[in-house]
Symmetry: C2
Subunit: 321 residues, 2 copies
C-alpha cells in the first residue's frame, strides 16, 4: 500500500509526530525503555491511513488535528491489542523481533498495553467528540468477545462461520472503527458514518482472509513472516478449514492425522491445493471486497480520498506480501 | 463503613442494578460464566460510594443517573485493575476465592479485564461529559506507571518515598478519580473539583497505609484476609519498611535474615513492635487523613453528604478490618 504514503504525506508526517509524543509521554526508566522498543516496531500504519482517508473523503479541513489524533489513537489501540494477544498466545516473536512479553515478561506487556489503551482513549478525547470514544469502547468490547470465542473454541475445529465471527470481531471491527472515526470527525451524517463503518468491516474481513492465504503462498522475503508459521502455531485459517470441509472422508482423515503429527507444511499444502483452499478463500475475500466497495458507494463520497479508499480495498486482492 | 449503606440506600440500590446490567451485557458462554463469577465477588463499594457522596456534596439532583453511572464505572475499573494485578502477581486467591487467572487462565483474566475497562469507559460516556473520561484515562496512565515502578523495584528494598509513590499511583489515584468524578457531575467549579481530587488522594493514601497495618494486627475473622499474608507474599509495606529504616544495624541484619529465610510472622512482628512500625504507620495515615479533611474544607461543601465524606475519612483511622 505504498501509494498511500505518496498520497497523503503530510498526514503521515503529523501522525508520526503524534505517535512519538504519545510513546514518550509516560513514566521513566523501564517504561521508557519499553516505549522505545514498541515504537521502533513500526507497522504499515494502514489503520491510521484509513482514518485520515475517511476524514478527507467526508471533507475534514486537512489542517484539523482531529483525524491525526484519531489515527494515532487507532494505531496505539491496535498495538495494545497485539501486546495482549502476544501474552495470551505466549508468542516469543512478532515481525521478526522479540515480543515485549518474551523480553520483559507478561506483567510488563499487560501493563504497557493498559497504558496504551488509556493513551489511545485520551487522544480520542482531544477531539471533544464523545461519539469517537464510544466507537473505541465498543470496538474493545467486541474484540474481547472475539478473543473469548477463540479461547472457548480452543482444541476444537472451527466451522467457517466461527472463523468469520472471530475474524470479524478480532480484526475487522478495528478497521470498521478506523473508517467510522474518520467519517465522524469529517462531519458525516449518521447514515454515512454507518456506510463507512461497513466499508471498514468488509474490508477488514477481506484483509484477514487474504493475510491467511499468504501463510501458504507469500513471497516470504517481503511478507516479513515465514510461510507456514500460522500452520506451525496451530492457527485455524480459512484455506485449511475449507480444505477440511471439502475433502473426501479419506483425505480428511489423512489430513487430520498430519495435523496431529507435526503438521508438515508441504503435505498440508498439497491437500490445500488439491481442494482449492486458497482459491476458495480468495473468492470469499473478493466477495467482502465487493461489499466494501458497495458500502463506499453508499457513503456518497466522490473525491480523491474516496478514490484512495477504493484502491485500498482493491489492493487487498492482489497482495503478495 | 456500614453507615454508608444506611445513609444513601437508594444510590446503592441503583448502583447494583447498573452493575448487574454491565456484567451481563457482553458475550455468552465462557464470558458470561466469568462475568457471573466476578460479579459474585462483591467488594465494599467504597469507591462508588465516594463518587455518589461527592456528587451529592456538590448538589447533584439525586434522581440523576450520572453519579450512578460513574459509581459503576469506577467499580468496574477497580475490578479490572484487580484482575490484571492478580495475573501480574500470579495470585491464586483473592478475598478467599479463586482468582479468575487461577480458575480460567491468564488469557481469560486479561481479556475480561479489557472488557471491563471498555465497559467502564462506556458508562462514563453516558454522562456526555468528556471531562469524566479524561479522569479515567489519566487514572489508568498513572496506575500503570505505579505498577511499572513496582515491577522495576522488584527484588530491591523500597524507601518510604518509593512506597508512598507506589501507593499514591496504585491506590490513591483511583479514590481521587472517584471524588473528582462525583464533583464533576455535581457541577462543581474546577477549583472545587481539584479540592475533591485532593480529598480522594489523601484519603486513598491513608486507606492503603491503614490496610497495610492490618496485615499485622487485624481481626482476621472480619478482615477477610489472614494476618501475615502480605508478609508471606513478600509485599513491602510501611510497617516493615519503617522497622528496617529505624532498626539498629544489628537488628536490621537479623531481620533481613528472617525475611530471607521463610519470613516467620511472629519474629517479624516482634521487630515491628520493637521499632513501633505500626504506630509510625498509623501516625503517617493520620497525617494524610488530616490532609483529606483539610481538602474537604477547601471544597466548601457543607451538607449531609459532606459530613459523610468527613466520617469516611475519619473511619480509616479506626479500621480493625
Amino acid at each position: 500500500m505504498d501509494f498511500l504514503y505518496d498520497a497523503i504525506p503530510e498526514d503521515f508526517k503529523r501522525l508520526e509526530t503524534t505517535l512519538d509524543h504519545a510513546y514518550h509521554g509516560g513514566g521513566g526508566g523501564l517504561m521508557r525503555e519499553v516505549a522505545e522498543f514498541v515504537a521502533e516496531s513500526r507497522g504499515k500504519r494502514l489503520r491510521p491511513a484509513i482514518v485520515c482517508l475517511a476524514a478527507r473523503a467526508t471533507g475534514i479541513d486537512p489542517a484539523s488535528s482531529h483525524h491525526i489524533a484519531l489515527g494515532a489513537a487507532i494505531e496505539l489501540f491496535h498495538v495494545a491489542t497485539l501486546l495482549h494477544d502476544d501474552v495470551i498466545d505466549k508468542a516469543p516473536t512478532r515481525r521478526g523481533r522479540d515480543t515485549v512479553n518474551a523480553r520483559w515478561g507478561d506483567d510488563v506487556a499487560i501493563l504497557y498495553a493498559d497504558y496504551l489503551y488509556a493513551t489511545s482513549f485520551d487522544l480520542a478525547l482531544s477531539t471533544l467528540n464523545p461519539a469517537t470514544l464510544r466507537v473505541l469502547t465498543r470496538a474493545t468490547q467486541q474484540m474481547t468477545e472475539g478473543e473469548f470465542l477463540q479461547v472457548e473454541r480452543r482444541g476444537q475445529w472451527l466451522t467457517e462461520q466461527d472463523y468469520l465471527d472471530i475474524v470479524t470481531k478480532k480484526t475487522a471491527v478495528l478497521f470498521s472503527a478506523a473508517a467510522s472515526l474518520g467519517a465522524l470527525v469529517g462531519g458525516a451524517t449518521p447514515t454515512r458514518v454507518a456506510a463507512f463503518a461497513r466499508y471498514g468491516l468488509e474490508f477488514g474481513i477481506a484483509f484477514q482472509i487474504t493475510d491467511d492465504t499468504l501463510d501458504y503462498e507469500a513471497q516470504t522475503d517481503r511478507w516479513g513472516k515465514r510461510v507456514g508459521s500460522d500452520l506451525a502455531e496451530g492457527k485455524q485459517t480459512l484455506p485449511l478449514l475449507r480444505t477440511l470441509a471439502a475433502a473426501s472422508e479419506e483425505d480428511r482423515k489423512a489430513l487430520l492425522k498430519v495435523l496431529d503429527n507435526g503438521r508438515d507444511f508441504a503435505t498440508v499444502h498439497g491437500y490445500v491445493q488439491r481442494y482449492a483452499g486458497i482459491a476458495y478463500s480468495l473468492d470469499r475475500a473478493g466477495d467482502y471486497c465487493r461489499g466494501a466497495l458497495s458500502a463506499l458507494e453508499d457513503t456518497g463520497a466522490s473525491n480523491e480520498a474516496a478514490d484512495l479508499l477504493r484502491q485500498v480495498a482493491g489492493q487487498v486482492l492482489v497482495r503478495t506480501h
